[in-house]
Amino acid sequence: MTVALSLLAQYRVGLLLGATLVVALALVPGFASPITAGLSLDRAASVGLIAVGLTLLLAAGQIDLSGGAVFALTGIVATILQPALGVWPAAAVGVAAGLTCGAVNGLVVVGLRINSLVATLATLLVFRALSHWLTESQPVSGTDVMVSLVVSELQWGVLTIRAGLFLLLILLLHLCLTRTVAGRNVLAIGSNPAAA
């Protein structure tokens, strides 16, 4: 009985996902097609990419409230630089901007020893302010519509680039957390900073 319960608890997410899929397959016509799977995965990937990063933070016992603001700022930077730099360099600068935001968060939390909840609440306001500043609070659009087609196209019938990147990062993070010293350090810090 207790073994069954603990198994249930250990695989609860998988079971929930399985149950959801079964219900969806039974009730929603056309749910089983690879296109549905590919598009669902693509939609999950945007939030999922942030979730991959948050996994690492939660494992270390921290939180980041500024994820959404960084998401917006990165997208805005990547979009408004397109006319000047071209699509892909602009995207790279966007990612670099996101990285900078993360570095700022890290600096405030570790350097100033501010609780991550409060620190990322503050940086959330700052990053959001920067986004509004850069765009004058107007929506911005890219120069090349074809890029969005490439990004959201299903490769080999199932995976978009975004979804592929998402799966790849999950795999990398999993290997990193379980197989490397740095990963195990993160888990150790999360379970007991003093002992670590």
């Binding site: 020893r113 909840l117 609440l121 306001l125 700052v126 302010a129 509004h132």
Partner: protein
């Protein structure tokens, strides 16, 4: 942390620093007042100051309750936007069926029940407060939307809006309600056993448990309070606007946490008071008002506010020599 040994922080060399910490907030508020007078002739007018006071009152009710959450070591209540929305939506939606007063009471009670649910999950089931309130926020908002079956609800009793937006002896009714809540919250935290227990719980849960403090009940109580306060705040907001959308409470959680933290209440729990939190609220609201009068755009205001939080907390850590906060 740095050079000064722990023993010196209690007496001797850091006392001036500590005094500076206690004086920082009043001085900052005074500085904003002076800045406001310099920036705009319309700042120091009764009309403008009453406007600021009125607009901070609805948020202020949440700030008072959020102080209890932080002091009890409960981190923060992120379900506030949902309880505010529930209060606003139910207070208006139930008006035709129950009458204004009964609808209002029921709306506040429903939000209070949501707070109790948070309290049970966090205090008794020991789920992390951030995760728990994030989850219940979604559920509460869903229930409130489902209950009215629509997106926007409108009020059907304009007289109630006039009452809430009116004045008694020159003071806006909303401000009076806020002051009553603030004074009650202050007395509760500072003068009662519950308040002492709340501090003890936030200071060190194991020590509090050892001293026979009902730690679980105290934590649960703090979240029940934010639920009630969110409902009250939302109900008043609904009556003021005479309409309520599910997103009506958006940002209230962060604005409330900002005020409490800028007031110098540690997010690690154990210390802080309602007057400090209200001081933080007054400072932030006055600063926003001055920036608006000075023609500074909203995005830049966000920038200033974000940096302000970091500065306030960093100063707090420097003064108290306590990791985190």
């Amino acid at each position: 942390m740095t050079a000064v040994p722990a023993s010196q922080t209690r007496h001797g060399s850091t006392t001036p620093l500590r005094a500076a910490g206690a004086m920082a907030l009043p001085v900052a508020i005074l500085a904003v007042l002076v800045l406001g007078i310099l920036v705009s002739p319309s700042f120091l007018t009764l009309g403008n100051l009453l406007n600021v006071a009125t607009s901070m009152s609805i948020l202020g009710i949440v700030v008072v309750a959020m102080t209890f959450v932080l002091v009890s070591g409960g981190l923060a209540d992120l379900s506030v936007p949902a309880t505010v929305a529930m209060g606003a939506i139910l207070a208006l939606a139930l008006q035709p069926a129950l009458g204004t007063a009964a609808a209002f009471v029921l709306a506040v009670a429903a939000a209070g029940m949501a707070g109790v649910l948070n309290g049970v999950l966090i205090g008794y089931a020991r789920i992390n407060a951030i995760i728990a309130t994030l989850a219940t926020g979604t559920v509460i908002l869903g229930i409130a939307q489902w209950a009215v079956g629509g997106v926007i609800v409108y009020g059907s009793d304009p007289a109630s809006a006039d009452l809430i937006k009116g004045r008694v002896a020159g003071i806006p009714v909303l401000v009076i309600i806020f002051l009553v809540v603030a004074v009650a919250g202050h007395l509760l935290l500072d003068r009662t056993v519950w308040g002492r227990h709340t501090r003890a719980t936030g200071d060190s849960p194991p020590a509090a448990t050892a001293a026979a403090v009902p730690v679980r009940r105290i934590k649960a109580g703090a979240f029940a309070l934010t639920g009630l306060a969110g409902g009250l705040s939302g109900g008043l907001l609904g009556l003021t606007l005479q309409s309520a959308r599910p997103m009506v409470g958006q940002g209230y959680e962060f604005d409330a946490i900002t005020a409490v933290v800028v007031g110098g209440v540690s997010i690690l729990g154990g210390q802080g008071s309602v007057p400090r939190a209200v001081g933080g609220l007054v400072f932030v609201q006055l600063l926003a008002n001055v920036m608006t009068l000075a023609g500074i755009r909203t995005p830049v205001q966000g920038l200033v506010l974000g940096l302000l939080i970091i500065a306030a907390v960093a100063l707090d850590i420097l003064v108290r020599r306590r990791g985190g906060a």
